[in-house]
Amino acid sequence: MRGISFTLGKERLGIVGESGSGKSMTGRAALRLIRPPGMIEADRLEMHGEDILHAPEKRMRQLRGGRVSMIMQDPKFSLNPVMTVGQQMVEALHAHGKYSRNEARQRALAMLDEVAIRDPERVYGLYPHEVSGGMGQRIMIAMMLLPNPEILIADEPTSALDVSVQLQVLDIMDKLVRERGMGLIFISHDLNLVAKFCDRIVIMYAGRIVETCAAGELKNAKHPYTVGLLNSVPDLENPRERLEVLKRDPAWIETPSVSARV
């Protein structure tokens, strides 16, 4: 990533780009989750006015998962395979507050119910390998929302899911984010999905923000990279003889980032 600036309010911000464009790194950097030899440099990295760039590691651990949560792409790899769903949800809760055992259990069950899991009592006692991908991802969402975070970073939360389940998971996430007035950073490679789901879109290429626009304005996007991405998707209703192939311009890498601050 190089020279990226953006702000997030109580809104849904979409970050789109190809693999290797730095979109996931952006989400991770916001939580200082970059491993060496990676380094983070910034003029300012703040959350509610609190300096994150220089906060001690102990404070960061409180923030991660507590005030800012992250949902990863594949529930298969982000749930602990040897703990039941309930155990790990309660663990997440205990890490960020004091709850009695019963209270924690009740909150976990209520949260499972909120993500439209029909029989929370049963799912609470299941192991991750006993649930489907869509259900696993909903459990992840439930677990991440349990400590009541203010910001949710979702890194390709639906890419591992089937189309029909995808919409369902997105709807649930959308509803919860709206109801709780959270800020959402939605990272995805799917431009159309992001356009439909987010308020504001940031388009990244080679570690830079090449364009930013309101979701409704995506059709009028000007940057050749954005236009190229839009046109390369095969469209069921409006078929084309040949799909447009992206012609990469080396100048895109040279151009400095566009600011996505409001």
């Binding site: 190809e18 089937d162 189309v163 390369s232 192939v245």
Partner: protein
């Protein structure tokens, strides 16, 4: 001529008494030069059909006639030459310690293709890589380039039927467009028959003329691409699938 004829195909896994059927009573025909698509959710059995045809799943019953050969427990050598498969993940389907040259020449040597040296050059040009890639290892290439190599490997024995198992789902949309264009060109050039599996209706709609929708191991519906584009599906499940993929795009 019919390239692929499948009748009452059942495929199962597990031991006797605990059989779970992945494919149930599936029948379909694909004509020579046609491009046929299988869509459905994960676990609907679409890939299993391809794997059973390729001989990767031994537990099946029914009748399969592919490339003029009635398939039994064993297949002739010429079958493997005529039918080739491209897998989903280009990162997993190439040998990490073999160069492109080794991968392609091994495939050709196995099938007794002559003039290997010249053919490798032609193949690499066919898939749009050029000879500069001939002595590279998989880790020196991007996902799209690897998938091109995997396609070149499948084309090496000069097959007439390609089995495509989600060939673009591990790739970015921009790279996906390149690979789809390549597949369209290759089909026209080499008069290939495609049997393609995908969960992406847009991709299947772009490449295939006829599409079968699968759910829980059965064919729900078979429809032409034009009917699909006009959203004229009869079965409820197909409608639901079409709706959700149209919705996710808009």
């Amino acid at each position: 001529m019919t390239a692929i004829a499948i009748e009452d195909l059942n495929v199962w896994f597990g031991s006797p008494g605990h059989r779970s059927y992945a494919v149930k009573d599936v029948s379909f025909k694909v004509e020579d030069g046609e491009s046929f698509g299988l869509v459905g959710e994960s676990g609907s059995g679409k890939s299993t059909i391809l794997r059973a045809m390729a001989g990767l799943v031994p537990t099946w019953s029914g009748r399969m006639i592919v490339a003029g050969e009635t398939l039994g427990k064993t297949r002739s050598k010429s079958f493997y030459r005529k039918v080739q498969m491209v897998f989903q993940d280009p990162y997993a389907s190439l040998h990490p310690r073999h160069t492109v040259d080794q991968v392609l020449s091994e495939a050709m040597r196995l099938h007794g293709v002559e003039n290997v040296d010249q053919r490798i050059v032609n193949l690499l040009n066919d898939v749009g890589l050029g000879t500069g890639f001939r002595f590279r290892y998989p880790h020196q290439m991007s996902g799209g380039q690897r998938q091109r190599v995997a396609i070149a490997r499948a084309l090496a024995p000069e097959p007439s039927i390609l089995l495509l198992d989600e060939p673009t789902s591990a790739l970015d949309v921009s790279v996906q467009a390149e690979i789809l264009n390549l597949l369209v060109d290759l089909r026209a050039e080499h008069r290939l028959t495609y049997l393609m599996v995908s969960h992406d209706l847009g991709v299947v709609g772009h490449l295939c003329g006829r599409i079968a929708v699968m759910q829980e191991g059965r064919f729900v519906e078979t429809l032409g691409v034009n009917e699909m584009r006009k959203l004229q599906a009869k079965a409820d499940y197909t409608k639901h699938l079409l709706e959700s993929s149209i919705n996710s795009v808009r």
